[in-house]
């Protein structure tokens, strides 16, 4: 009787444990492998195909027309900015976790934010929130100089290493509180805030050149987002909402 009970109740429990440990272990391995940055693209062809598909199906099809942005996004190896264990998701149409509770933005959001700045190639840009370094790399391909600040040390170290390894010599990284900007290099033609904010830091507004543009995303990585573009005019500011969503506000009777 007792043996039957043990077989029926305790055995399944014992069998369940290794399964759980297996999953947990797999997840931990993914976390641990975040430290290493691969210098060469070992599966280049596969990633290149995925990258082209990403540009075609996720970005161009959603209305991003800026050829320079599309070309750069098809070239920069996004997967190298993502921890090894998560690289299989590098070109998926979603944000990817990069550790420290942070994500690398969905490719479409990166493209949308970049194209909204209407970059000509001669700008000095400040980025607040380096994160993985991917956005800085994209900007680094499109502008003269990019200064990027990260407040979380592990992310700062990892992204700096990645950008160095990939040879981005016009991207300057700094471990500091981005709220105060980077006064020594101000004014900036463009400022991009990639972290959530509840107000625009006054020091950043001061460091924006007259006629300059500041872009920031509203919303959370796993929710719908919209973009805000702030233009510094001679007599104040204009804030333009560039919706990152296909918003249909009203239909039928309510529209009348």
């Amino acid at each position: 009787m007792k043996k039957t009970l043990i077989l029926k109740i305790l055995l399944p429990l014992l069998l369940l444990l290794p399964t759980v440990l297996l999953f947990v272990n797999g997840e931990q391995e993914s976390q641990e492998s975040q430290e290493s940055v691969e210098p060469v693209i070992s599966e280049g062809d596969r990633y290149e195909v995925a990258r082209r598909e990403m540009v075609l199906k996720q970005i161009a099809s959603r209305g991003i027309k800026d050829e320079r942005v599309l070309e750069v996004m098809a070239r920069v190896p996004r997967h190298l900015f993502i921890p090894e264990g998560m690289r299989y998701q590098a070109y998926h149409d979603n944000p990817v976790r990069i550790g420290e509770g942070q994500t690398i933005s969905q490719p479409y959001i990166v493209a949308l934010m970049t194209s909204c700045l209407n970059l000509t190639g001669n700008e000095k840009v400040l980025e607040i929130g380096t994160g993985s370094g991917y956005q800085a790399a994209i900007l680094g391909e499109l502008v003269r100089e990019i200064y990027t600040i990260e407040i979380k040390e592990p992310l700062y170290k990892r992204s700096t290493q990645t950008l160095l390894t990939l040879g981005y010599s016009n991207v300057y990284t700094r471990f500091a509180d981005g709220y105060f900007g980077w006064e020594e290099h101000a004014p900036f033609d463009c400022i991009m805030i990639t972290a959530a904010v509840n107000h625009v830091p006054p020091p950043l507004l001061d460091q924006l050149a007259e006629g300059g543009r500041m872009i920031l995303p509203l919303g959370d990585p796993f929710s719908y987002q919209q973009l805000v573009l702030i233009k510094k005019l001679s007599d104040g500011y204009q804030v333009e909402q560039i919706t990152g969503v296909l918003f249909v506000p009203m239909t039928g009777e309510a529209r009348k």
Binding site: Q89, H199, D220, E240, M250
Partner: protein, 790 residues
Amino acid sequence: MMLSGSSALIPAVFLLSLSCLSFEVLLTRFFSIAQWNHLSFLVLGIALFGFSASGVFLSVTHQRNRRLVPYIAAHSQLLIVGFCITALTSYLICNALPIDFFRIPFDWRQLIFLVLTFLLFSIPFVFTGALTSVAYMVESRKAGKIYFASMTGSAFGALLPLLLLPVMGTGGGLICSGMLPVFLLFTSRDKRFLTTGGILILLTACMMVSAGPELFTVSPSPYKSLPQILLYPESRVIRSSETLEGKTDLIDSSAIRFAPGLSLSYRGNLPRQTALLLDGDQKLVLYEISDDSLSDFPLYSLSNAGYLIAGERGDLTKGKILLAGMDGGSSVLHALLTHCESLYFAEDNPEIRKIIESHYQGRSIADSGDTVRSTAARHPHFFDLIHLQNWGSSLPGMESLSQNHHLTVEAIQSYLSSMTERGILILTRRLQLPPSDSLVSFGTAFKALASLGIKSPGQHIIMIRNWDTYTIVLSQKRYSVSEINLIRDFCGTLGFDTMFFPGIREEDANRINIFQEPYHYRAIAAYTETLKAGDSNFQKDYLLNVTPREDDSPFFTSYIRIGRLKELYQATGSRPYSILLSGEILLWILLIVSFLLSTLLLAVPVVVSKIKPVRWLQVLYFLSLGAGFMFVETAFIREFTLATGSPVRSFTLVLFIMLIASGFGGYFSGKLKDKHLLPVMLVLTIILFVLFLSIRTLTGFSLTLPPGIRELFLGSLLIPPAFLLGVPFPLGMRSFPVSPGGRAYFWAANGCTSVLASVFSLFIAMNLGISWLLLFAAGAYCVALLVIRK
């Protein structure tokens, strides 16, 4: 006293029920901290699934092996050992799982983790359910006593977390609740159980010593504010405490800066801030106030519009201000800047009240000593300005299943009535696109003003916004032209946009913070037309649910219309994950899964084992009882959330009183004869129907009572129906002539409909209203009544 055999059954049922309910309550805390509040709703499903599974298991095995149940009854300690081991291991495993529900749509492992969490946590409930079921199977004549032991044990279990949480937190509480029944092993005459008990205690103690405090710490989601802020340099937790109301952490960091709605024109520095987090998510910040001067940044925020009008209407230095609900926290600085005569704050969470009081000690700010709604209800025509800060969760959709009684038609009526005629009500929240939150606020305010007898509510509303925040300013007194011009100038100077004011035109909107189209203005304009006309065309046609919220259905952020999911998916960029994890979708998934599991569980004994344990009408009787009881329980918990100011306080109050009263009802049933069942059910059904008609008035009245008296009044409402609710189940178990296997099947059936009813009750509350749950309960007992008559 040594207990063995079936004499050990009833004490075991009592203690295991106690531990199990404490474990269940603490699990809701576990999910609230580790994830978000709405996932704690899973716990009811986990518990009742475990109970039902045990009934089905015993029903099937009893048909095949008649010796099993008597054996378990004689060795009930086996189930206690099973409960202790699985309660402990399920907590340890689930707390270690790298759960990230946001990744479910694109990481299949997360789905496995979710299912695993559900199954692992349900195993301790299987053992508790099995013990109670076995007791009913072998001691059916003592059904009343078993019911009494189970219910009173559960009632004390509902209270145990009150003691455990402040001392050892959620993790420690779960371990303690899980290990508590082990002491019952020492009452056994069987030396093997004595040894097992000793080993279990020794192992747990060793583990606690070797693992240290980490064992007791529930890890919050990496997307919550706590882990995020702690990554900032030099951030540290300076105070941490836990109660049933939630886990509060006070974080000191130079990188915390909270000033939503701040104008781009502001050029000064913000004062240093300390973050107060509730369950790891942002609740409010406490500002460091210098003795020399106050930071003037609030004067550059949207909320200042209300203060300007109030200042125009009278000298605020002679006025009384109430800060209602302490989300955000900047309202304190704002109010202090007015140097008003009296400044009060009302906050529903007592722990947060204590922290605020201690932080602003020496400043002229006083605790109202009551909840937000009661403070307003008990002070008619008293305040000159009420500033309501209510930001909600940091992620949209996470609070869609939570009741928010601070922002309902009745709430706004109450705030307006608690102010003098010139009084101003200010509410600030996050601006969302598609317009949703702002529309609900507008519609709710409009309806509240209309219900106060104001003929043109639009003349009493001003709404302004910046790029991500909006403020609504309400007054019982019609706005004058000069007041409107004051706000227009204020917006022009500080770079804000008007959304609504009496006489607004399209060219007044969308000028500085420019959307592609004036979405917010147009939506509000269309909404105003429909509200003026008294129809609901706009609400029916709009993509999201923006109907005015009332106390009977106070789900402020529940915007999703299931029938229009496809449109919403397209309107939000065709990205599924934001919608998939909102509360409404989770609820549907839970309902479908619960239905499938319940059907499967009830079908197993009949289809697979090809057995016919009972008559179907008798099964229907227990199905109805399960649903009816759960409808009553959820109705009172939800209804009393308004009066107690907290779902947790309401949960504890209702559960304790209901379970004790039902337990006595069960005990009393032992003295009743079979023929008494019919009149008892009839009286119960009538009481439930009367409560359905009167509960809203009674709860509203309770808000005007002082704390303490209010809880006594609410408790007295509960006792009569709860006592009668305890009679039908044990009387049915005792009266129906069925085999022990049949009784196990009844137990399972009761559990299954309880699961379904708990999930379904939220649909009823969200779509019809909380009070309707009592009508559904009366309906369920009517069905049971008809079954008896047959």
